[in-house]
Amino acid sequence: QRSFSTSKAISKESEESSAPKTGEKEAKVKEKKPGKSGKENLLDLLSAMKVDVTTKKKFQASKSQKSKEQPRVHPESMESATSMFQKATTEQQTQKESLSPELVAAASAVASSMPFKKSQTESELLQQLRKHESDTEVHRKGETNNIGNIIADMKVGKRPNARSPNRPANQIRFDDDGRGYTHDRGVVNEFDAVRRRKSLFTGKRLNIFPSMTDTTETEPKEVSVPSLWDIELAGQIAAVIKHLPRNGFEEMIQWTKDGKLWQYPINNEAGLEEESDVPFHEHVFLDSHLEDFPKQGPVCHFMELVINGLSKNPYLTVKQKIEHIEWFRGYFQQKEDVLKESEVY
């Protein structure tokens, strides 16, 4: 069943929980940009680097650093138009939503710890972080805004009314000839005026109905505890209104509303919406919870292993991870005497 072992499934959570360096590694595999030797060297160095204590101190040490650079988009290095548009959209989005200054400072600290190509590594790290942010944003909002973003840069070429081939024939009307018909223009021309309006709400207001603000401003009503009669009445109304399902479809709809049936298309993170708001570093850097444990000895070693395993686990919420750690704290405090006998605590 549940275990501390790492999981191989690459999910959104695992992307969030991995440190920027592993995200860069995955990105290298995914994007297949033309090889940059500096980047490969960077990856080798990062994999050889020790993660936990030193880098964290550097994160915390350097708070106010240089500002982030704008990501450069190289047209010749793009392999497809869609990736170029995606780059453009990420640029747009990053101009609106900036990374938190701590992440920026951390990225600049890591880059400065690299021996060469500092500015390039820093910009690449920031790019990866922004890509993570934009990916999680897109994932959260669903696919709703994607097309709008992708075609935001495209210019729509509007063709003028392409009915000119009909015009020469239209000029001759057969009404007067006695045949009694004109050239059938169809209903399209009537809708032309309607279609030329850009949207529903342009045009002069008629002021037939009173506006929303006047009618909907009521004082907040005092809601007292509903009495049993109110509850009974509400139940009766609900029972009258609720129609028994007439067919299998309505039955399935009712079950979905009740929660008995999954929602399709299947969302893997169905019950976990608030969990996606938790930033990834709270999943990965769990050292701060280890303060009440002894600093040396087998207990410390054991807890470090526990932390390591928990940081790699994409299936638990942060709350659950903290609960695990707290249980261990309580357990070791309980068994203090046993541990003191073996001179460990």
């Binding site: 501390f4 695990h324 249980w327 357990y331 068994k335 541990l339 460990v344």
Partner: protein
């Protein structure tokens, strides 16, 4: 006297079934509006016991995991591990997941159950032949 006792036992047993393990015990209204009770029972007592074991295994899952993490360890001292051994042995017997048996959902058959459908082979065949299983077809090659 004995009959009374028997009926009391039976009643309390069914009450136990209904109160603690409600299957579909919502009062529903039929089309005329009268309230009817919808009673559901598990297929047999063995299925009920399996349900109880599953619930208890879920309850104790975290504790078992943590104590096993202490036991299966080469770092912590052996005295602590022995204490942990005794602790996990003190847990109720139904809390270990090994006792769960994947029974058929319809007939509670313990053997011949396909995991994907949670049905025994007989029920599976019955439903598939009557076209109740989506995407299942008789194999022929």
């Amino acid at each position: 006297m004995a009959a009374l006792m028997l009926s009391w036992v039976v009643k309390s047993g069914f009450e136990f079934l209904q109160t603690s393990f409600r299957t579909t015990s919502l009062a529903q209204r039929c089309t005329t509006g009268n309230v009817e009770q919808v009673r559901g029972y598990y297929v047999n007592w063995r299925m009920l016991r399996d349900v109880k074991r599953r619930q208890m295994a879920f309850e104790y899952a975290n504790d078992r995991l943590r104590i096993n993490a202490i036991r299966k360890n080469t770092i912590l001292p052996k005295e602590l591990q022995e204490v942990a051994d005794k602790e996990i042995a003190a847990f109720p017997r139904d809390s270990c997941p090994v006792r769960i048996r994947n029974r058929c959902v319809m007939t509670s058959r313990p053997r011949g159950v396909k995991r994907r459908w949670r049905l025994s082979r007989i029920v599976f065949r019955h439903l598939a032949d009557h076209n109740q299983m989506s995407g299942i077809q008789r194999a022929m090659w």
